[in-house]
Symmetry: C2
Subunit: 439 residues, 2 copies
């Protein structure tokens, strides 16, 4: 993409130290908010002008919510923050020697750098697969997936080759973590309640929803109980779950697994994420693909560079392989690092980060969930779903998003309806790759 030559990355010079934050995700957002009254110039760089509430992306993908419900403009979140500067740019590299962040429209020096670049979809090096599967990590992915799902059924009605039609109507989700479980549950609800009346000529009794997971259980990050209950709930919804199963290849609607074959034109890839590493961070700084940080989130061997959230690897006694790559860790590290900046600026010693595990949860279908709380407390079913709803509404940014989302959920709950079944991005996989060059 040609960059207009008149664009230059610049921010005013001030007497205060400049903290550059790469990324406006959960970590970056919390950090910048908590720096409100700190005497520093806070510069946030993000390629999007909005924060994405990723836990609900799957609802955008399955026609339950529009992006405005789960994404919030980053500038709006900082009204009244006079030390905050936002620049919508994609960071292309960092240079620790020169203390600068690099972008296609110029470089920016920092006094302190916080890398909060989050994570990207992990294809485990399989470039062939990457070209063919549908990821679900960004708002554009969710919108593409939604259009793809609906377009598939429009096209299935126009297909008289019945073998082809069967393959078109089958959906396969790879990865049995929260995203995989949630998206396959939502697909099952679409099949069971919505699609049959929209497409009366298609036989939805034939539509398979497959969930393929490499390990021997679902929801690996959660309790054994949650894994079993989600499996049971998904099977009740008609999802075919395959455990201990790995994708070897995917060609022309045939998915080869280590233990069999599936026929399915659409593969949704929720198999994992990896740290979003920026050019200029050398291999020695990385452990398992994440930036190794000390207990203050300071990058190994660096004085002025910090990393928080998914991209950071902090090895502690409780988490020798780093913390789980999820929103609560990023948020707590963001808040904690802000406190440490305050201590730093007033000459005090930094305090080590400690993760407070508030529990984790996943929803299955329209009114079930599993919730693990600290101390082994566990909920399932409808009550767990109420907790899930409450917590997600609570953490959504801004009152407006809360209102619109709650509205949508109440509506869907009572009517079984999903309102946003609009095919707006009618791209094929190949076109999508071309379009995504621009995005």
């Amino acid at each position: 993409m040609a960059i207009p030559t008149h664009l230059k990355l610049s921010v005013p010079e001030t007497e205060h130290p400049r903290i550059v934050i790469i990324g406006g995700g959960f970590g970056g957002l919390k950090l910048a908010k908590a720096l409100k009254k700190v005497k520093a110039q806070v510069v946030m760089l993000d390629r999007n002008n909005f924060h994405t509430f990723q836990p609900l992306l799957y609802q955008v993908a399955t026609a339950g919510l529009e992006p405005d419900s789960i994404a919030g403009p980053l500038r709006k979140s900082f009204e009244g923050h006079f030390n905050y500067i936002f620049r919508m740019v994609k960071v292309t590299g960092v240079d620790f020697e020169k203390q600068e962040v690099q972008t296609k429209i110029g470089n920016l020096t920092y006094d302190y750098l916080v890398i909060a670049s989050g994570s990207v979809t992990n294809y485990f090096g399989n470039e062939e697969l990457q070209k063919k599967v549908l990821p679900l990590k960004r708002v554009v992915h969710a919108l593409d997936l939604r259009s793809h799902i609906l377009q598939t059924f429009e096209q299935a009605e126009l297909t008289e080759d019945y073998d082809k039609r069967d393959r078109m109507m089958n959906f396969t989700v790879v990865g049995g973590g929260p995203t995989g479980v949630e998206v396959s549950g939502a697909l099952a609800e679409l099949r069971n309640h919505i699609l049959p009346s929209d497409y009366p000529d298609l036989n939805f009794g034939m539509m398979q929803i497959n969930l393929v997971e490499g390990s021997d259980r679902l929801l690996n990050g959660m309790s054994e109980k949650s894994g079993k209950e989600s499996l049971k709930a998904l099977e009740k919804l008609g999802v075919k779950v395959r455990l201990n199963s790995m994708v070897e290849s995917f060609n022309d609607g045939i998915i080869k697994l280590n233990d069999g074959t599936l026929e399915s034109d659409s593969v949704i890839w929720a198999a994992g994420v990896k740290g979003n590493i920026i050019n200029g961070i050398n291999a020695e700084s990385l452990t398992k693909g994440r930036i190794l940080v000390d207990e203050f989130n300071r990058a190994k061997g660096q004085e002025r560079v910090f990393a928080i959230g998914d991209v950071a690897m902090m090895q502690t006694e409780d988490y020798p392989d780093g913390h789980p790559m999820m929103a609560p860790v990023a948020m707590q590290q963001g808040t904690h690092l802000a406190k440490n900046f305050k201590r730093l600026f007033s000459g005090k010693d930094l305090e080590p980060f400690e993760y407070f595990d508030k529990g984790s949860m996943a929803t299955i279908g329209r009114n079930k969930a599993v919730v693990d709380m600290p101390g082994g407390l566990h909920f399932k079913g409808f009550f767990a779903w109420l907790i899930w709803m409450f917590v997600h509404i609570l953490y959504l940014i801004g009152f407006r998003n809360k209102l619109i989302t709650l509205n949508n959920w109440i509506w869907s709950y009572f009517t079984y309806d999903k309102g946003t079944r609009l095919i707006i991005r009618t791209f094929s996989a190949e076109q999508r790759r071309k379009v995504s060059q621009y995005e």
Copy 2:
């Protein structure tokens, strides 16, 4: 765009006559709904799977609403209609001799054809302009325009060339009809209430919003009073209205008018629409670019072909140049034609169409409108805006759309906030043209 070879346009054969409707706009939708109990196979063809409530497109473009509020899935609208078949295809032509509709994936024969293809943006033959300006006629246009507006300000903050920055921040709307008036009012509200806090580094006192209209008044289709009041209200909001002014060229941010020059990188084209004519309809059937129909909406010289709405030209005593190209005409013609189909099938004579003018309205900014009612009744200001709101909510399809839209409007009214300031389609003009090949 390569069409997958497995796609074929087909519908089941039945004993009943087949009515093919091209287009699911206001006319096609009303017609198909009213044919619910008629013994005919109703086949609707549309390139989109949704109906667009075009009068509110400008709110999608100016970050007030998401598409799901103003568009409704066409299949969903016909739940319980057992004689209704929807196919998402783009019609490429018609052959009156063979009685068939042509598409890229095959042809479909009809017993009766209703052309309800609506209208498209009219560039008055200026192909150079067409490549550079921003249209506002479809959902994708509105989303592109929204992203363009927001991206412009993101980039303006990254521009140190102050002349360039000024041109970037100026917006010019061409066409003083309802769309032009409404979009310039909404832009003014964005400038006055929203953008300054989002972009503190930019000087919005410098931002021009120009409205260029070729005739000597605004809202030509409405009363003299409405024209004057909308002009006054727009000027109060800070819109620079130029009457009797025509665009001659637009290059590198310079708009040449017949009576002057404007500097503005963004030109929103709302100068007019023309009938969306399909290949195979020959020039003799057309009058002023619309399909000439008799008082029963039957195309001139055709027994089995009808046209309704914007694309139809019915010359009556009251409307010697045809009816205005607006939703109420299309809706009434759709309903009326359904009644005539019933008469036709029971061997009765057709009844001529008569347009019942319920009035027209336009909104200016956040809480003003002008309303012309039959019999010269006229309202303006806040009360007119309440009527405008009520009528638009009333005509929105589906209870869910009404609810979400009302919610959004109440929210925006009290907070001056627009929630959907997300830049999702970050295409440049050139990229947009490439992407639109796929859409």
